[in-house]
């Protein structure tokens, strides 16, 4: 029993690793996507819309299987075509991070786009009048305010992302769910192990909720809320 419990706990470390790494990828893709959709140029808007529509119309599991199995074969075929003898092995961790990041980048795009639209346009114009460049405007004016508007949607996406890491077990990454499944089949006691894993996920989501609530409070300092 003990070896199985420690396998699940090791898997828990991997779960945290995958989710945090995927979050970083998702944030980067989300910012790029939101920028593309708000840029006004038809090519970028089209690409951004295609990205969000397609990704949000396909189940996470199917995308994961497509990218993991199809992607590796495609990549190796491409390398062969270019005349290389090297074989690239995308390990399940990298595959999981890239896939989850890619999928949740689409959801983050929508969240960030909504947040950016909520900031009054006059502020960007004022920044331009002051002579600030695009990057400066973004870093000093847009980003800090965007955080507050984006937090509810961001929290939601993050919680869904944590739970989606369970799906990565289906492409072979040995995180919590995978370890629990092996343990339960080998010891013929699935109830205990899956309940334990569910408990670990609950701990993870509770801690995240608490941390994000604190973050929300921090970024909402100084804003007034109407009383009913």
């Amino acid at each position: 029993m003990n070896a199985y419990v420690s396998a699940i706990l090791q898997g828990a470390v991997l779960t945290v690793g995958v989710s945090v790494s995927a979050l970083l990828v998702a944030i980067v893709l989300g910012l790029l996507g939101a920028g593309a959709k708000l840029s006004g140029r038809p090519v970028w808007v089209g690409l951004g819309t295609a990205y969000t529509t397609v990704i949000r119309g396909i189940p996470d599991l199917v995308l994961m299987l497509l990218i993991f199995y199809g992607g590796t074969i495609g990549l190796n075929n491409a390398l062969e075509w270019m005349g290389s003898e090297a074989t690239v092995d995308i390990n399940p961790f990298t595959a999981g991070v890239l896939t989850l990041g890619f999928i949740y980048g689409a959801y983050m795009t929508e969240t960030f786009r909504g947040a950016m639209l909520a900031i009054p346009k006059g502020q960007a114009e004022a920044a331009w009048a002051f002579g600030m460049g695009r990057t400066q405007t973004f870093v000093r004016i847009t980003a800090p305010q965007m955080v507050r508007y984006a937090l509810p949607g961001f929290t939601n996406n993050w919680l869904v992302l944590i739970k989606a890491t369970a799906l990565v077990s289906l492409i072979g990454l040995q995180e919590m769910t995978y370890a629990a499944k092996q343990a339960s089949a080998a010891t013929r006691s699935p109830f205990v192990f899956f309940l334990f894993t569910a408990g670990l996920f609950l701990v993870y989501t509770t801690v995240s909720l608490y941390a994000l609530r604190r973050l929300n409070a921090h970024f909402s300092l100084g804003t007034k809320r109407g009383t009913l």
């Binding site: 199985y4 390398l79 080998a186």
Partner: protein, 254 residues
């Protein structure tokens, strides 16, 4: 142009791992006691020990990679590992996709149902639920011989999940490797009401000629190395030592 693309891609993929010279990546499915399973979190079993012995012979380090059974061959073709040493039977269908070394053991399959059940052949299982491992030779047999006479064949991702559902009462039996089902199910307390039924199934059409080491086509150097290694450990007693650790008879078979 191609060279330039190659340079760019290789540079961008510096985080991915490239095939090493000395390590031999071996795929295993550790849900198949006593051939491949996990004890104390480490892969162990007949297949694992044979693999380690062979690696010692060809002077490379074995790195075991876990893989679920139905993606074994696709994973090999996608170059996730070099060889499959996980009780994979050599069959004509599989030979169309990959290559195999000579066999390193051969054991038959059997039908397993409750002791009280009167098994007289495939037709007597009509209406019953039989669990099999997805993408295994037993699944091929079940689909070819049992499903056609009205048996409800249910494929599972791993053999030990079949045992989980037999224990739960959702399945009436299974078709599995004779030795594997004895070591992984019948010899445990949950298997006390079940037994092997019928005759040993040696049909080559479904079950092939025994378990071999799977590798990609075109790797003749590695194949010859492994074949020589198999013969060496058969001759010098290492095979017998590993065999006796798990079984009371010679699994090399006929």
């Amino acid at each position: 142009m191609k060279k330039l693309l190659l340079a760019v891609v290789l540079g961008a993929l510096s985080t991915a791992s490239f095939a090493q010279g000395k390590d031999l990546k071996v795929a295993i499915d550790p849900t198949y006691e006593p051939f491949t399973y996990k004890a104390d979190g480490k892969p162990t079993g007949f297949d694992v020990d044979i693999a380690s012995a062979l690696c010692e012979q060809i002077k490379r380090k074995c790195v075991f990679i876990e893989q679920s059974w139905d993606s074994m061959i696709p994973g090999l073709m996608a170059r996730k590992y070099e060889v499959i040493i996980s009780s994979m039977s050599v069959t004509e269908d599989r030979l169309k996709q990959i290559d195999f070394t000579n066999k390193y053991y051969n054991t038959p399959s059997r039908v397993v149902t409750k002791k009280a059940f009167n098994y007289t052949g495939p037709a007597s299982l009509k209406g019953k639920k039989i669990g099999v491992l997805k993408a295994s030779t037993q699944e091929k047999y079940a689909m070819g011989e049992l499903k056609t006479v009205g048996v409800d064949v249910v494929p599972y991702e791993a053999q030990d999940q079949v045992y989980l559902d037999i224990r739960a009462g959702r399945l009436d039996g299974t078709v599995a490797d004779h030795v594997e089902v004895t070591g992984g199910f019948l010899s445990k307390p949950e298997g006390k009401d079940y037994e092997l039924k019928g005759d040993d199934l040696y049909i080559p059409k479904y079950f092939g000629i025994g378990a071999g080491i799977g590798l990609r086509k075109g790797q003749d150097a590695l194949k010859n190395e492994l074949n020589t290694a198999i013969k060496t450990i058969r001759d010098n007693g290492t095979y017998k030592k590993i065999n006796d650790k798990y079984f009371k008879f010679d699994v090399y078979g006929k």
